[in-house]
Subunit: 302 residues, 2 copies
Amino acid sequence: MSILVVGSVFFDSIETPHGKVERALGGAATYFSVAASFFAPVKMVATVGEDFPRSEMDFLAQRGIDLSGLQVRSGRTGFWAGRYHEDMNQRDTLDLQLNVFADFRPELPASHRGAQYVFLANIDPRLQSLVLDQLAAPGVVGCDTMNHWITGSRADLERLLSRVGILVINDEEARLLSGERNVVRAARRLLAMGPHRVLIKRGEYGVIQFSAHSVFAVPAFPLEEVFDPTGAGDTFAGGFMGELARSGDSGETGLRRAIVYGSVMASFVVEDFGMNRLRTLTPEAIEHRYRQFVSLTDIDGA
Amino acid sequence: MSILVVGSVFFDSIETPHGKVERALGGAATYFSVAASFFAPVKMVATVGEDFPRSEMDFLAQRGIDLSGLQVRSGRTGFWAGRYHEDMNQRDTLDLQLNVFADFRPELPASHRGAQYVFLANIDPRLQSLVLDQLAAPGVVGCDTMNHWITGSRADLERLLSRVGILVINDEEARLLSGERNVVRAARRLLAMGPHRVLIKRGEYGVIQFSAHSVFAVPAFPLEEVFDPTGAGDTFAGGFMGELARSGDSGETGLRRAIVYGSVMASFVVEDFGMNRLRTLTPEAIEHRYRQFVSLTDIDGA
């Protein structure tokens, strides 16, 4: 089954304690799509400017990503520049130019409206709802959001959450959205808003998933060096939704395996700047690290 | 097999956002001993003052803890008072009176010198070494330490570490002792100091164990309410060493299961003030939560 993702495509200039990169391909929809493309066909709905290079268009197309919903508009592609601290959980935004993304309005081609696996990456919750309005009968709908919408567009966000099955969010956002510091209480409040699954990303500490009746926690893969954390959350979501679509199993076991595949993909993307690591990644490397994850977490393992 | 532990017995006055308690039984050796006593016989070497109540002595004895190495000396038992912040990872010490603990010098009765399972709780590393000097041929030696000794007695601590098999410390201490922020690099440096296993406690995020050839990570049990984190690390160590002694398996599988039992015990102790929860805990409740841990972490679980 193919996956529909709606979100941003940006260029990112990134500085970390390990070096820097200028105008690297980025944006939530991009990280998501490239990660998911290792598991299932992806249809990407986003917008870029006329400056978007042919070579990157080719890269995405070669990964099997359907770009028929990508709006190429007059103007420039969105741009973000940021600098990570020595503690890479903290970063400063140095520059932000929304450009064509400023008035992005997702429009789904007819071929996209029957999508069964849908991910609403972090954009204005009104636009996320607008995507759902255009879908016939989506099966699995995941979404992300961020502090900006939680504080500034809470009513829109709550309307959206009542229509979403799986909320994928980081721990800080979970606290802000729920008003609860404790992760269990936060998750319970978020489940009450609509989603039947809440996945809370905890950075270097992994991911914890809650439903009304189950909890699953997986650590992050322990890496000796994190070069660049940009896009790790979106890459996680891509691997997660990708594996759900590949397996067709969105029961407890399918979700757990999908969370591990998401964690595998996130562990790769941070090994190099931007999405460089994903450009050379192989299915064999993904399966190898999946097995390492099993060994990392298996209580009875040796 | 029985376990020997050497460390502190204190009274603690504790204030958390959930309430407070005055002069509760505490100290690293106490938390360790009570937790370990659910798994194997424990011999405790420590010191208390004449003010130590008969009722607490009886409680420890009833848990099967051998108190023949407990020095009751003229003076008062050590006392600590602390207040936790809203974020309970942070606390302030309000009062500290070492009392008889100030010149504690561990002396092992002859009956203790053949101990196979030994835990050196957090005390001056010279005293920890002094304990090892008195042992015939210990099989499994674990130790803890703290920032105070890492910065103030590094040479003594490094001498100790060259004689210890399993180092159990928290993430902040691991960073300080290794000089590395990254947990993988920190663990590698610590392994190079002598221990063949390093267990790094990460509070609400669980525990990660490193050896030269393996990594194992387990999340903390997700609790809706942490009433009082005091003693959680020592209780973890007690459950961990206790299970090692009970199973007799200190291979990879035995260590992993012991880490989960340690995590189980820590998850109980924080549910109430001081060690109150351990006073009413049953083996059945421990086994039940162990199974919940397996389900929490099992990738293929349902």
